[in-house]
Subunit: 218 residues, 2 copies
DNA sequence: ATATATTTTTAGGATATCCTAAAAACGTTC
DNA sequence: GAACGTTTTTAGGATATCCTAAAAATATAT
């Protein structure tokens, strides 16, 4: 397993390759490599039985592939917690270094780091940290686009993308914030939230989809 | 700069390539790669002006090469301090993981880690941590083989090699220990030390050479 | 349903790294 | 200083990764 293959598997996973078939095109855009390179890498991962492949359709992770993706996510997110909590990185700075560190982290290192950090359950963006064995803890979050009007909810997780995180900073939307939905425009139109203090924030449908929430249970 | 090239430069440095010409043979043994690969890598580093090369003689680091070697040592040793002090690694366990981490550590990461660790001056084996700019702090240590009889001295630094560290553990020789020399056999023969409590320890010449000491100043 | 556009694959190369085997240079020894 | 042994270099390949350009397959649109 090389850093390259690992990044490829991660990309497939992040595009939904654990449950649906991902086209080469999507991987080309996501990884910024040529279509030919995607075909080639597919062939390699196929040989290792980490993906299944429908010619001219795309690829999907096998169960081994999913397990590897989860273990990478575990490493990545544990590093993010370290960089954020111990080294004082900002919310939107942690991703790049974690992306490098995850590929050179022995299991021993990750487990000791995990202990050192007191076994965190979530990374700085609210992403759940997979278990050591590659399984995923249960979560009950769903996209902000699926929230019903009136019911109060909390921001539980946001997309781990530097530009998106900067946007949220601008809009002053933070992990743990509590809102109610006041307006949803049809045809994937903008969504308006209201803070308990009555401040209104309007964001687009795409941005809302990158925010995971859960209803407040009182 | 790739991890491979970095390791090559480190190997040259560790074999003394900052001050003398290192033969391909030595690099072949040290890096466990073929002679042909050494010739090839030499050509690459030569093109980048990181080494100078005397055909059929060997290579030597240029000043840029030395600076890079020092910066790598800095990264390596700061990681070692982290693994040892924060993650509870043993003295002889830190090397392998530090060797991987050093190649993916941005300057930002190293400086923040350095702050987090309170700017350590030495790694867990007593190795001095080079400065950020690639220069070396002054030290006054010298090999145990050069100690004179009678004068008390302290163990300041030991070779960062797993097997050697295990040997020292067996012999119960630790960083900071204070000894006097009681016997040196000629022809690179064994050297006998005595603790303040009168316990005697005998080690070979080669092992003694891997231990750096300094006289106790009282 | 046929033409056009898009996507995927194949073909053919480039570079970095590794290798083995053969050739060339150097060193050593009588 | 010629012969032998060692070290270095060269020659020729292998693999992983990347690429561009052309061909093949699929999707779309009139």
């Amino acid at each position: 397993m090389t850093p390259n293959k690992e990044n490829f598997i991660k990309a497939i996973y992040e595009l939904g390759g654990d449950h649906s078939v991902i086209s080469n095109k999507k991987l080309v855009n996501n990884l910024s490599i040529s279509a030919a390179s995607v075909t080639e890498m597919n062939a390699r991962l196929l040989k290792e039985k980490l993906i299944s492949h429908v010619p001219y359709r795309g690829v999907k992770l096998t169960s081994s592939g999913i397990r590897i993706a989860h273990q990478l996510k575990r490493k990545h997110r544990i590093w993010e917690v370290f960089l954020f909590e111990k080294l004082g990185y900002d919310w939107n700075e942690v991703h790049a270094d974690a992306d490098l560190l995850e590929h050179v982290s022995s299991d021993l290192l990750i487990e000791r780091l995990n202990d050192f950090l007191d076994e965190p359950k979530f990374d700085p963006h609210g992403g759940v940290i997979p278990n050591k064995d590659g399984s995923l803890p249960e979560t009950s979050t769903f996209p902000l686009t699926d929230v019903g009007t009136g019911k109060p909810f909390k921001i539980k997780e946001v997309d781990d993308d530097k530009e998106f995180l900067n946007y949220l900073l601008e809009k002053d939307i933070q992990l743990g914030d509590r809102y109610t939905l006041t307006d949803v425009e049809p045809f994937d139109g903008p969504i308006t939230l209201e803070t308990p203090e009555g401040r209104q924030i309007t964001i687009g449908h795409k941005a809302a989809f990158k925010i995971l929430v859960d209803y407040v249970t009182e």
